[in-house]
Amino acid sequence: MDFASMAKYTPLFVEGLKVTVQISFVAVLIGVVVGLVMALFRLSSIKILSWFANMYIQIIRGTPVLVQLYIIYYGTYPLFGFNIPPYIAAIITFGLNSSAYVAEIIRAGIQAVDYGQMEAGRSLGMPHGMVMRYIIIPQAIKNILPALGNEFVVLIKETSVVSIIGTADLVRQADIIKAATYSHFEPYIIIAIIYIILVIGLSSVMDRIERRLKQSDYR
């Protein structure tokens, strides 16, 4: 094993780390925004909205992310007549993919809030939306956050498949270094360690946020 010879490839690892973090971060943002909308659609009393959200979630959860990536990357040309860069395809794929899981996490979190809370709010004369905003959602966040943190961790690791379409993420960089040095082992050990550090860092941030939100649970 020769980790010393890896030192000169540091810029490539750093570049790969940047891309992995960027894809994950933007995908998470898209996932949360689209996921929240889908969750509210699913809980909506308007039939067409809940039907649409349900279909959306079923399709995304029912297909492998790699297939989704191929469809979005290779599908834009036949459908719209232009190609998109692999990087953009990766962000869209993981954003949409994550949104389906996030939608289910948010829906479950909202439904886990005792129905008595809605009744108490409504009985004071507050409209449905106001009760949601000031009473239900703040409590639902406490249910949602741990599962959401978990979803982010999964997402960071899953983005490794984007190397297949040539996105220059951590795995892609390790592939390049492997080809250049004939070292089949060291580059992957290094990116494995980088992934672990990312995940542990993210988990500790989530823990801290959760602890702050638990304030009202203490006696």
């Binding site: 108490a120 009985s123 004071l124 004369g125 009473i135 406490k142 009202s216 203490y218």
Partner: protein, 240 residues
Amino acid sequence: MIIVKDLHKKFDKLHVLKGINQEVKKGEVVVVIGPSGSGKSTYLRCVNLLEQPTRGEIFIDGESLTQPKVNINKIRQKVGMVFQHFNLFPHLTIIDNITLAPMKLRGLSEKRATELAKHLLNKVGLIDKINNYPVQLSGGQKQRIAIARALAMEPEIMLFDEPTSALDPEMVKEVLSVMKDLALEGMTMLVVSHEMGFAKEVGDRILFMDDGLVVEEGTPEKIFNNPTHPRLKEFLSKVL
């Protein structure tokens, strides 16, 4: 103040209310008693449309709740409700539990809302809990806060849905005493309760419900000392 005409409620095939005709006058304290499953709570919950009636009409202050264009949020502001399980907002402090609705709905400034909340907390004897969270309170204290929260909307009517049923016995008294004070101040109250002592002492009128109907009603004196309906006699023999 409250007029109920031919009120029916069905849950699928279950016929819970089978035609209630009632009137509650301003300042009156009406206590609804009866066995579980008789429809007491459903009746109460229909009065602020937490349950949608299947048939019949309900009027609050002359306004019909059952006509399609009703602004139920406006009417609910006039009708406070206290639940069996308190339903305080666990993520808010006591003061925020009380001030949220008046600030959002009645447009009170934070200062005015805080003054009002302090006044109410003094009234229910819990001013020292102002910055606590609900989880730090006993059941009886939670229910007194729930009453204060409802009163902060300055309602004309208060509905109580078995307010002491989820409490340890030693905490029942503190809640009933707050309710009694409220009754003495002239609040119009509709109370579903198993507290026969409270019904006797504070109630102006008692309704005995059985199987979706009010089968006997009258003053506490009449209901408890001269019951006529066989189901009421049977019920009283079990609870007294």
